[in-house]
């Protein structure tokens, strides 16, 4: 009875073009919906964005129209890219397309770049000139680099001394340079300051390069210059380095005077208080900030990242726009693909709940970052998170045990590969 009355009313109103815009008032939300079927636009088809797009469809039981905008036809993951440097995997295995999102999940995918967001008009402009209206906007644009924070480095210099911290041509360049390095040469990494994507990433990388050198260039040397005084899973990495590579990897931190004062790109020379190093291959991982579109849209604060309501991921600076993944400030969660994908799910649930006028579920949220120290030597860090006083706080977690057996390390290496298969299937496939 009531149902059919409602339906009649809705039909009548829809015919009069009156229905939907008012919903917002009852949601206590300032952003009205213009369509009876809400339209959510997602910017960025990486870990965060692709997950949000899929789960907006899933949690709304396909009642929300979702458009994903991503310039690349295929996406190569950073996770696994260090394994590739060691020769443990190949590029096709690390590359994913958007077919399943389109055909299995009903996401509309546009391969283009968003050039402008108009938060007041609730529209995004694409480089091809098209303009799309949205009811809610989700942004997971990832990072940009502060190149000149390393004196002497620049975007142009990254074509010679790669950062390889966005997967693709940069990864290939580093892959080649490692293989072309002279016997007994020196590989030097300039590590980034906090916060940056994938806290264990640089250290997994030198582990994987050591694995390659051990076989193909056993007298090579690896030097890490780090502006930090400690790093993620440090004791575990160092234990593994010792066990697998002896003294091949030398790590110097802030307290050793390892903050780089000058990088001479042409001569491949790096100076810091500690010493001046001449290297054959240099990998510079510069400090990071939210990607450009987040700045252009006015979503960043003085830190260079985007403050959000950490329960829903709605920007605290622009209503109706949600920022997830590396670009967001997500409490105590590290910047990782796993975290970005978790944000995508939480944010999708929040948007669907808002549109339905449901209470937001209050789940626990998790992150697991595996690192390979060797082909059969894995370590992990895990965290479980919960909202407390408006901040995502870690309530349990920790790292693998020190001094664990070879068997345990081997199992974790297998789980690292299993994690990769599962998360990429969850984000881009079924």
């Amino acid at each position: 009875m009531i149902q059919s009355n409602r339906r009649t009313l809705i039909k009548a109103l829809a015919a009069a073009g009156l229905g939907a815009p008012l919903a917002a008032t009852l949601n206590g939300c300032s952003t009205p919906f213009r369509n009876a079927r809400p339209h959510v636009v997602v910017i960025g088809g990486g870990f965060g964005g692709a997950t949000a797009a899929k789960y907006l469809r899933r949690f709304s039981r396909n009642q929300i129209d979702v458009t994903l905008i991503e310039p690349k036809q295929t996406y190569m993951t950073c996770p696994g890219s260090n394994w590739y440097l060691a020769g443990l995997t190949d590029v096709p295995s690390l590359t994913h397309d958007y077919e399943a999102l389109k055909t299995q999940h009903g996401v509309k995918v546009i391969h283009d770049t968003v050039s402008r967001v108009d938060g007041d008009a609730q529209s995004v402009s694409l480089q091809n000139g098209e303009t799309l209206h949205y009811d809610r906007l989700v942004m997971s644009p990832g990072i940009d680099f502060v190149y000149d924070a390393v004196p002497g480095y620049s975007e142009a210099a990254s074509e010679v001394l790669p950062h390889a911290y966005q997967a693709g041509p940069q990864t290939e360049l580093l892959y080649q340079q490692i293989r072309e390095m002279r016997q007994g040469g020196t590989f030097l990494m300039i590590a980034p300051p906090n916060p940056f994507r994938c806290p264990p990433g640089p250290y997994e990388r030198v582990s994987m390069i050591a694995a390659y050198f051990k076989e193909h260039n056993p007298t090579a040397k690896i030097i890490v210059l780090d502006p930090k005084s400690k790093f993620s899973k440090q004791a575990l990495f160092m234990e593994g380095w010792q066990e697998l590579y002896g003294s091949m990897i030398e790590w110097y931190g802030k307290n050793d005077g390892a903050i780089v004062e000058e990088l001479d790109v042409a001569n491949k020379t790096v100076s810091c208080e500690l010493d001046t190093f001449k290297a054959d291959v240099i990998n510079v991982i510069p400090p990071q900030k939210a990607a450009k579109i987040a700045f252009d849209t006015g979503l960043t604060d003085a830190t260079g990242w985007c403050p959000v309501n950490q329960e829903t991921f709605e920007s605290t600076q622009k209503r109706g726009i949600f920022v997830i993944g590396d670009a967001s400030i997500a409490g105590q969660m590290p910047k990782s693909g796993h975290s970005a994908s978790s944000h995508g799910k939480m944010c999708a649930a929040a948007i669907v709940s808002q549109l339905n006028n449901w209470a937001m579920p209050r789940p626990k949220n998790a992150n697991t970052c595996y690192s390979l120290v060797g082909a059969h030597y894995g370590i992990s860090i895990a965290g479980v998170y919960e909202m407390q006083d408006g901040i995502i706080k870690e309530i349990a977690g920790g790292v693998s045990q020190m001094g664990a057996s070879q068997q345990v390390r081997k199992m974790e290496a297998e789980y690292a590969r299993g994690w990769y298969k599962s998360i990429t299937a969850d984000v881009w496939k079924s």
Binding site: Q3, R6, L9, I10, L13, L18, G19, A20, P21, L22, A23, A24, T25, L26, R37, P38, Y55, F59, S60, R61, Q63, H338, S341, S342, K345, M346, A349, V352, S353, L355, N356, N357, P361, R362, P363, K364, N365, A366, T368, A382, V384, E386, I395, A396, G397, S400, M411, E412, E414, Y415, R417, G418, W419, K421, S422, I423, A425, D426, K429, S430
Partner: protein, 105 residues
Amino acid sequence: MKTVMMPLSALFVGALSLMPLAAHADVISNAELSATTCFMCHGPEGKYSGGAIPPLAGYPANIMVQQLKDMKSGKRPSTVMQRHLKAYSDEEIEALASYFATLKP
């Protein structure tokens, strides 16, 4: 802004216009949303995705509850699971297990 001007009856119907969305959907439970965070390692919808990590879809709930509680206490050895499970109460473990039992393997 606009909405201030709307008569009450219009506001009422405005809420109803969300019904097509709500009518087809069930509320997202804590267990469902939490379970989706397990998918990252254990496969989408708990389904096998080719790796060494066990899939969870259709796992008998009582067995899963026992195994998870034993991993939480350390009675059953694990690598990363004990570190995760310390965050979950028995009730939450039971809700998660019940949810996974409903998924098709």
